[in-house]
């Protein structure tokens, strides 16, 4: 993109990881009260990999990715993000969160701020970028998600699809190494799903490390390096998408796929 000065050039492409492994979960267990929501999760995500997690509702997939940036706390096992282990250490948690972008089902834009302010908030207050540079980066990513003309509007004035694209741009403005997507298209009207998926596909093509909870199987086939299927807090099956869809191994996976792929 022309016009981007050298100072911000580093912010305009995925940041490199320090270690080859982006996220490593070793024997992770989590309970909500008595409910055992994550059971012995072992998952290793390499840098640049795209993982799509699917499974029935209540299977723990959202909880799993929310553990990766510690929006949920795990009670047993280890989670290591780009060489940093998540513990009670608030400094470490904030360090990890700075490097991970997250997109939510409900967008969660800040309604009291304009689109541009939503995008520059964290770069200015967390990365301590000068406001002008943060705005330059923000406008760059608004062009990337194809809504540069909405910069001065408030989130409530945008459609759901536009809001979700702003949410993606907001995460990208922090120049994350890893992106987490928690059912990013589930709250959208059907006509708006594609515009969001297109942005995500473009991001995948740039080499971003992505962990996506989604039931968009067309998207999964197109971008996923590996599919992860979860049920009742367990990882049931992991496989490359071709094999996963054509030849699922576990009975539970077969049943699930037969129900969502009519």
């Amino acid at each position: 993109m022309s016009g981007a000065s050298n100072a911000i050039a580093g912010f305009l492409k995925p940041a490199p990881l320090r270690t080859p492994v982006a996220v490593e979960m070793i024997g992770v267990n989590k309970w909500f009260g008595d409910f055992h929501v994550l059971r012995d999760i072992n998952l290793k995500v390499m840098g640049g990999e795209r993982i799509v997690i699917c499974g029935p509702s209540g299977s723990g997939k959202s909880t799993l990715i929310r553990c990766i940036n510690r929006l949920e706390e795990h009670q047993r096992g280890r989670i290591i993000v780009d060489g940093v282990e998540l513990t009670d250490d608030v400094k470490k948690i904030e360090e990890v969160r700075r490097e991970i972008g997250m997109v939510f089902q409900q967008f969660n834009l800040f309604p009291h701020l304009t689109v541009l302010e939503n995008l520059t908030l964290a770069p200015v207050w967390v990365r301590h970028l000068p406001k002008r540079e943060a705005e330059e980066i923000a406008r760059h990513y608004l062009r990337r998600v194809k809504i540069p003309e909405q910069a001065d509007k408030y989130p409530a004035q945008l459609s759901g699809g536009q809001q979700q694209r702003v949410a993606i741009a907001r995460a990208l403005c922090m120049n994350p190494k890893i992106m987490l997507f928690d059912e990013p298209t589930s709250a959208l009207d059907p006509e708006m799903v594609k515009e969001v998926l297109d942005v995500m596909i473009e991001l995948a093509n740039d080499g971003m490390t992505m962990i996506v909870v989604s039931h968009e199987m067309g998207f999964a086939r197109q971008v996923a390096d590996r599919m992860v299927f979860m049920d009742e807090g367990q990882i049931i099956e992991v496989n490359a998408p071709d094999a996963f869809f054509a030849n699922p191994q576990h009975e539970r996976t077969k049943l699930f796929l037969s129900q969502i792929l009519h």
Binding site: E95, R97, P111, W125
Partner: protein, 381 residues
């Protein structure tokens, strides 16, 4: 019977037409709002009667029969040529400066005027929701204004402002100072208490809960007595702050507990996703609160905060039981002055105080309605 229409294509767009006459105009409005049912008709008649019984005598006493000029009680006494005397506004006019400034020295009263102006400016800045630089306005209102006001009103000999002891402050000045401290000092404390009550740290949460519940469980008048009578018992004499300051501390403590609960309600109304989105961006606790949560939470609590402010504004009259000369006390002191001893002096004095409080409270109430209307327009999302 016509055949069932099975296929249909709209031939042309139908233009918008004005509504029928019966749906618009004064008659329609009256019928819809005042005479829509028998109960409504009865209530309308009752209200008209009530207004008829109360408004004319009030207007007669306060305006038509009122005495507007004069220098002492003679002008407000009934005479053969004027058997009925209404409100004695001449009394209020003569004592107006006393009602506003108390015993504040006449040559220093410009300082009070500047304080009023600076406060009004700050209130305007804070209450105008689209005002420019509201962040700076906060700093002005909650930090610069209190400090500057104290220096201005109390005095600083080094700056050429002679000290004016708080015992000389009085009237509207004291009422406004007490009410302003009850908001300006209490709101930040209240916000901290509200955050504390929702904190994940048990000690902080326990302290906040105990403080809030204890203070809310005690009447303001008790807090004032505690502050003015008991505080000096615990503190050495040199430390003992002056009478007005003690009352101000009491009012601020009291008001903070109530505002804390108001703010907590606002915090609870903010969806969890807002906290999570802010945290996921790497913002720490204080930045999440300052940048994302509080701006939204405080905005939706404005109507409730104004409600608290209205209550507090009237409660300021209680300071007179601990011997502070607020507006009510200055009127109390003046109405028994033999120079103005007439049958209508007391009523006029109280009417003046009532009018003062009514105007203040009504303005606040209107403002809160305006904010509510704006929030209802869907500003939030």
């Amino acid at each position: 019977m016509p055949p069932l229409q099975t296929a249909f294509v709209a031939p042309a767009p139908i233009p918008a037409a004005p509504p029928p006459r019966s749906e618009t105009g004064v008659i329609a409005w009256l019928r819809a709002n005042l005479f829509s049912s028998s109960l409504n008709i009865a209530l309308t008649v009752l209200c008209v009667l009530l207004l008829f019984w109360t408004v004319p005598p009030l207007v007669k006493f306060l305006l038509l029969d009122a005495v507007w000029t004069g220098f002492d009680r003679e002008s407000c006494l009934a005479r053969p040529e004027r058997p009925v005397v209404g409100a004695c506004w001449a009394f209020v006019a003569e004592r107006l400066n006393f009602f506003i400034y108390g015993f504040y020295p006449i040559e220093e009263r410009w300082r009070v005027d500047i304080f009023f102006a600076a406060l009004a400016f700050g209130i305007g800045w804070m209450t105008w929701l689209d005002a420019p630089r509201r962040g700076l306005g906060m700093l002005y209102f909650f930090l610069a204004l209190p400090v500057a006001s104290f220096v201005l009103l109390y005095g600083a000999p080094r700056l050429g402002l002679p000290i004016v002891e708080t015992a000389k402050w009085g009237g509207v000045l004291v009422t406004v100072v007490v009410a302003a401290v009850g908001i300006v000092v209490a709101l930040p404390i209240g916000i901290l208490l509200a955050l504390g009550r929702r904190s994940s740290m048990p000690a902080v949460r326990l302290f906040s809960v105990i403080y809030i519940e204890f203070v809310r469980g005690v009447p303001l008048i008790t807090v004032l007595f505690m502050a003015s009578v008991m505080l000096p018992l615990f503190l050495p004499e040199v430390w003992s702050p002056d009478k007005l300051l003690r009352a101000l501390i009491g009012v601020a403590m009291f008001s903070a507990a109530y505002l804390a609960e108001v703010v907590r309600a606002g915090l609870q109304a903010i969806p969890r996703g807002q906290y999570e989105a802010a945290q996921a961006l790497g913002l720490g606790y204080w930045k999440v609160m300052y940048l994302v949560i509080l701006p939204q939470a405080l905005k939706i609590t404005i109507p409730n905060m104004v409600n608290s402010a209205i209550g507090l504004f009237k409660d300021t009259t209680l300071v007179f039981v601990v011997g502070i000369f607020d507006l009510l006390k200055t009127v109390e002191a003046s109405r028994i002055d033999p120079k103005w001893a007439t049958p209508v002096t007391s009523v006029t004095g109280y009417a003046f105080v009532g009018l003062f409080y009514f105007l203040g409270c009504y303005a606040m109430s209107r403002y809160s309605r305006y904010v509510e209307a704006r929030l209802a327009q869907g500003e939030r999302r």
